[in-house]
């Protein structure tokens, strides 16, 4: 199944995505926002992809982001969801910097939220973002996420401690903003 957004499609990750993904996660401008600390080899990245379980409620869901004309520009995911609490964390990266600040991140988040609420039947979707990633925070607010808190000095990077912002959106809020099921 392919998830269709306005500007993009979300699809399963394939082996052909590896080299681009590897370049993105080793780009310091990107890893600084992701919190990935240690350099990761292409071989390690390939091992991880091969060992990934299929996307599922308790397995997590890892998706590639393609533009409508088929260009691979990033990835997005749910961490393994908790079945009792119907709650999952999400993450997103637009790795191709030519697509920053053009609405692709927002569209990818909204597409993933729709999948999480309307197909997986989640009640709550949360995320963590570093305090200095203002562009991402603005994007998540636009998607309906609310700031729930600030974990003081929760992250150490580039020689100093930073706060981690916790944001979340509930099913009712998503439905109120986007009109609920069809």
């Amino acid at each position: 199944m392919i998830l269709e957004g306005m500007l993009l499609r979300l699809r399963a990750q394939e082996i052909d995505d590896l080299e681009r993904g590897h370049a993105w996660t080793n780009d310091r401008e990107i890893s600084y926002q992701m919190g990935t600390r240690y350099p990761r080899s292409l071989a390690e990245q390939e091992r991880r992809l091969n060992e990934q379980p299929p996307g599922g409620y308790g397995n997590g869901v890892r998706l590639a982001i393609d533009t409508l004309d088929g260009r691979h520009i990033g990835s997005t995911d749910f961490v393994p969801a908790d079945a009792d609490d119907r709650c999952a964390g999400m993450g997103i990266m637009i790795g191709d910097k030519g697509y920053w600040s053009r609405g692709y991140g927002t569209d990818a988040v909204l597409t993933l939220l729709r999948f999480g609420f309307e197909q997986m039947n989640l009640n709550r979707i949360w995320l963590h973002v570093f305090e200095y990633n203002e562009r991402a925070i603005a994007c998540y607010k636009k998607c309906g996420f609310q700031i729930e808190g600030r974990l003081r000095d929760h992250l150490y990077q580039e020689g100093r401690y930073s706060d981690v912002i916790e944001m979340a959106i509930l099913r009712d809020e998503f439905d109120a903003a986007l009109g609920g099921g069809s």
Binding site: R37, D84, D85, R86, C87, N123, R124, W126, Q146, E148, G149, R150, L151, R152, D153, H154, L155, Y156, Y161, E166, A168, L170
Partner: protein, 180 residues
């Protein structure tokens, strides 16, 4: 052995199992805990499964009164050496010892160890919104509310909010004095 004012923290021992199992089978004790499914005797629990303490495995300690009664357990989990942070969990299983300052003393004793021996920078915990006695105890120990996760846990027929509280080394030293 870590000495507090009212309690002593020691390594957990296999002999703690029976009491721990009884505590975690008591609905009154687990009411605000996030554990959900009945526990089998073979299930691993940190309250009674000895592991070497440290950054890799966490620090899991039994709480004893000064006269040697085992009343609960406390731990540091998810330790991260780069961020120098850890999560804290505590349970007073002997209900006769609730609301008598044992939990708070155990926490302060473990925080001192975390900040002054392990060189941590931050300790955090999560607590169900509504567990007011615990929140007051954590606040008295110097934790501040940092995050309010809405509808984060389902229990007793409804969603509950979860509070994340944190304390930094500087906060602790301001309350208790720095290292000697």
């Amino acid at each position: 052995m870590l000495e507090g004012q009212l309690v002593r923290l020691r390594a957990v021992e296999p002999g703690d199992r029976e009491r721990a199992q009884a505590w975690l089978s008591d609905p009154e004790v687990t009411y605000y805990l996030t554990m959900r499914y009945p526990l089998a005797e073979k299930d691993p629990i940190w309250l009674a499964d000895p592991q070497p303490g440290g950054f890799a495995n966490g620090v899991h300690l039994a709480i004893e009164t000064k006269d040697g009664q085992h009343v609960g357990a406390i731990n540091l989990h998810e330790l991260n050496p780069e961020d120098r942070k850890a999560g804290l969990g505590v349970i007073i299983g002997e209900k006769a010892h609730w609301s008598n300052g044992y939990g708070g003393d155990a926490i302060t004793t473990l925080l001192r160890f975390a900040f002054h021996e392990m060189n941590l920078h931050r300790v955090w915990l999560s607590v169900l919104d509504g567990h007011d006695g615990a929140v007051r105890c954590y606040e008295k120990c110097g934790f501040v509310r940092e995050s309010h996760r809405r509808q984060h846990v389902f229990k007793h027929g409804r969603y509950w909010d979860v509070l994340i509280m944190g304390i930094l080394r500087d906060d602790f030293d301001a309350m208790h004095g720095g290292g000697s």
